[in-house]
Symmetry: C2
Subunit: 447 residues, 2 copies
Amino acid sequence: MRYGHRITHIAAKSEFLLSDVLRIGIAGLGTVGGGVIRLLSEQEDLLTQRCGRALAVTAISARDRNKPRDFDMPDATWYDDAVALAQADNVDVVVELIGGEDGPARATVETALGCGKHVVTANKALLAVHGGALAELAEKVDRTLCYEAAVCGGIPVIKAMREGLAANRFERIYGILNGTCNYILTKMEEDGAEFAAVLAEAQQLGYAEADPSFDIGGIDAAHKLTLLASLAYGCQVQFGDVFIEGIEDLTASDIRFARELGYRIKLLGLARRTDTGIERRVHPCLVPLRTPIAEVNGVTNAVVAVGNYAGQTMFVGPGAGAEPTASSVIADIVDIARGLAMPPFATPYSKLEEAAARPMDLWQGAYYVRLTVLDQPGSMAGITAVMAEHSVSIDSIIQRGRAPGAAVPVVMLTHKTEEASMTRVLREITALEPVTERPRVIRIERF
Amino acid sequence: MRYGHRITHIAAKSEFLLSDVLRIGIAGLGTVGGGVIRLLSEQEDLLTQRCGRALAVTAISARDRNKPRDFDMPDATWYDDAVALAQADNVDVVVELIGGEDGPARATVETALGCGKHVVTANKALLAVHGGALAELAEKVDRTLCYEAAVCGGIPVIKAMREGLAANRFERIYGILNGTCNYILTKMEEDGAEFAAVLAEAQQLGYAEADPSFDIGGIDAAHKLTLLASLAYGCQVQFGDVFIEGIEDLTASDIRFARELGYRIKLLGLARRTDTGIERRVHPCLVPLRTPIAEVNGVTNAVVAVGNYAGQTMFVGPGAGAEPTASSVIADIVDIARGLAMPPFATPYSKLEEAAARPMDLWQGAYYVRLTVLDQPGSMAGITAVMAEHSVSIDSIIQRGRAPGAAVPVVMLTHKTEEASMTRVLREITALEPVTERPRVIRIERF
């Protein structure tokens, strides 16, 4: 690989280059694009000092040139077509803020690298799906492909994993990777409100998209986890191997019961290396109250990395928004301006492991199970018999609000068991006659 | 400046260099030195992969060659004299783990840079006092001087401030920068114990040094704050400008009263740019319960950076110890091996501002004041009259445990006032006849 020989070889230094302007082309002028342009303009002097050279926006591109925008358009060449911008002679770095895992975003990044330009992107979907091929292309042309803004907005967690904690093997990494979900869960707890009502409110406030499925379905968090897992475990970008469950089916009663039992519900992304493959999963979890991760509320994100030397470090901050995301986009540009460069996933992509995905069936842990059961003699006996048969033992039960002949909620916490056993238990319990609804099951994480 | 031209100038690439071993000389084989040697040995393959080249310890130095050590000594050239190690031909990077702001540590670093070697150090005292001259020397010879391990042990906060958040102006930065003090304060609260008893226990457990004065006096935290403030505000390393108070005078009753009022006492380091200079201060603070910083307990450290784009980010982790510190030392070595380099304080030192220190007299905020007052008619009238005269108004008072004729504690929280007024109030109150002890004053920080 060709990255990083500079400081071992000072004879080749060529100082004059640092007085050169770094020429930036921005593809996509939505919320984040606007934030990037405002930041570059408002903090021009500061950035020039920190980079040792000027940064200038020399080209811009968006779908609609005449759309009203709440920032001053820079004096730059306009391109209707982002791919044309990616080919422009007057651009050194292409900033891709179009979004989407394929289409113009992918074409723009491929073209930019192909034309020997550095790329900075906030596009987690693109990297989680095509990151391998793009990394190999970047390495081939000796250019950088940077994506700090793709994971956890303003928190510089990619740099922390790739560089600051580079000396560690990671026992596990986990985090709250999606601000929309965390906001919804926090509001459901605060207001005792149901999912649909809180989602609608979040959409009105701009905390959730008109089509929220990527967020609430866990896809967005899984994109980010894919990138973090690759950096932590030196494995390839394997989005398809992430086990994903969203938060759509959680109810206000789940949140209330969890709290009564000493837990809070969070959508976590978690990764861990095991003897049977790399575990990568995104799903709602019960986490014990008063743990640091349980105290991260609202749109805030957090990543916890447990390194075998560094110990447990936690990185907390705003997970989205124009300004935090712009902060990370510009951090990548500053790296490029300063000449800091390495392969996109720290190690040349061909040397990364194509890691086996650990089957979720092998996961072991305790479970929260909420059943809706007819309040009649023998209901519980049937359920507990099924559990005993599969060696799933019960830690505690909440059953109250007697309503003879009607359906009532029954909540159980199990002792540690294996996912495969739990799956069998659920299949059989669901078929029992007094069980009137599909059981709700949430994994418990203890740290 | 000559850092960072590489990726704008690929014609000069010289791939073969990356297959070269990076040769490391370690000066100082105490706790941290041992951790560094163990890490390099245990994770040799991992580091080779992540760096794209091998790391090898080729030289070591310590005061006593024959001292029993709990790690295997590497097969390396021994030097009785660290300065001789710093001159050795077979060393590319000198790791200074001797400690102390002058003497052999300073001589070793100066010699290493003078001989064209990179330097990695965990020595906050050296950098806080002589960082300016050393940075200029490093820049002159185009070598790196890295110090991630000097601030907050295993938390990669230097990298975060210097690179990850490089796009931001900082409204403020603050943190719990000394694990010994935070451990003592946490134990004082948990056990209701007095300072001296907890300090003795901390010394037995190895959480406090035999001579704890640098830790409990706030000097160590001020060293770290000096470095963080320089990175955040682009100012020179001006340790002498830090206002410092330690935790030695805090009592169990202060911690109890604070809690009753909704606060926890933390030793914080805080920096802020104001129109009247850069505020840099280390002192005990009352921080509101349930704020993130109030929840950081025990030996854990935390830094909160409030950027104008990134928003509030927080970095939490182990603040000291052989293994976390080794993690950060090796992170710096990995940067060097990967060819990532920049001036020690991000901007060439000569371009950093020689910033005026903001006089502490101008600080404005609320105060906790604990008085010991004879329980007799008119005592409080005299005190409140002095406060009124200097326009210091009282937010709340705790007075209980009547003991006519004897001294009782009286605790007040003031409204926001200026330090200069408070100083005058204290001088006059101390002189009042019913006030039997020097008042204890602690500043209140609200975030």
